[in-house]
Symmetry: C2
Subunit: 156 residues, 2 copies
Amino acid sequence: MVKNNCRRHGWWNIKFRGCGYRLTSGREAILDILSKSEGHLSAEDIYMKLHPKYPNIGLTTIYRTLDVLANLGLIFKFDFGDKRARYELAEGPKGAQHHHHLICTSCKRVIDYTDFIDEEVKLLNETEKGLCQKYEFKITNHLIQFYGLCKICAKR
Amino acid sequence: MVKNNCRRHGWWNIKFRGCGYRLTSGREAILDILSKSEGHLSAEDIYMKLHPKYPNIGLTTIYRTLDVLANLGLIFKFDFGDKRARYELAEGPKGAQHHHHLICTSCKRVIDYTDFIDEEVKLLNETEKGLCQKYEFKITNHLIQFYGLCKICAKR
DNA sequence: ATCCTATATGAAAATGGTTTCCATTAGCAA
DNA sequence: TTGCTAATGGAAACCATTTTCATATAGGAT
Ligand SMILES: [Zn+2]
Ligand SMILES: [Zn+2]
Ligand SMILES: [Zn+2]
Ligand SMILES: [Zn+2]
């Protein structure tokens, strides 16, 4: 019985090594925080959560690691208009399910929604197919966000 | 016969004044550049285009004006991942038609497409309706972008 | 277990798009 | 024309992110 996140057997070990990246304790710690946290974390959020237990992981490393993880497709990077990048674990083993975002332009609150996703994704796939053909563009990812006022900001 | 973009009769005069903003020559010049230019301009792009004819309009004013225009809904602000905001005239009188974007993650090229827009928008409207009800969220705008590799970057 | 080398790291400094400050100018209502 | 207030420009401040560079470490080879 192999423990699922054992240092040398975790499922992301393969992904890392396969792409020529080394598996370091810092990278594991960051991935761990991301998989345990709700919401959309900024680099500094992660630094804060990590610091008590790993006081020697610097902000620089967090930025670099987030970059690697995004390249590997393990996380997504978002811009919700609050002037700092936000990160979220991608779908997949242990990852969250596919969802899109509602963003309040007033208070910057972000709501994840999974309703309607199926229809949306179905249409997106068709659109993607058409766009690929017409523009010879190899689509790898999509972004859908709705902007407006949240419940609280609306009544004011 | 009233000239369409005469200083005091232009169609955006009303919009400005109605919201308590003053119509200044700088604002007109910026709006003018945006309506005459193809593509997705950054604040500095606009500054460069403006400078020869209006050497006394500063970058600061451009940023402030773009903010006002976005608030008025006259322009949209985008993040295409090249670390600077990009602006584009919204639909409407003299504005471009509604479109979405294909973004090359390698060379940052951006392709506007209008194909499939009708189906997309139709679905989006339904989704919006549902989301409004479920989350009591007042949706005012949406963003759809596809990421991938453009024709040129794909063959490498 | 030990070496070796390319990769990863942290601290500090640099970067650069955007915002803020403040003294001056200019819309526009009366 | 006058007066009040919003708008402006230049310089300085801001601040998330990136770069630099000397040091540490992962992990394949011995
Ligand atoms: Zn809100
Ligand atoms: Zn989310
Ligand atoms: Zn490209
Ligand atoms: Zn466009």
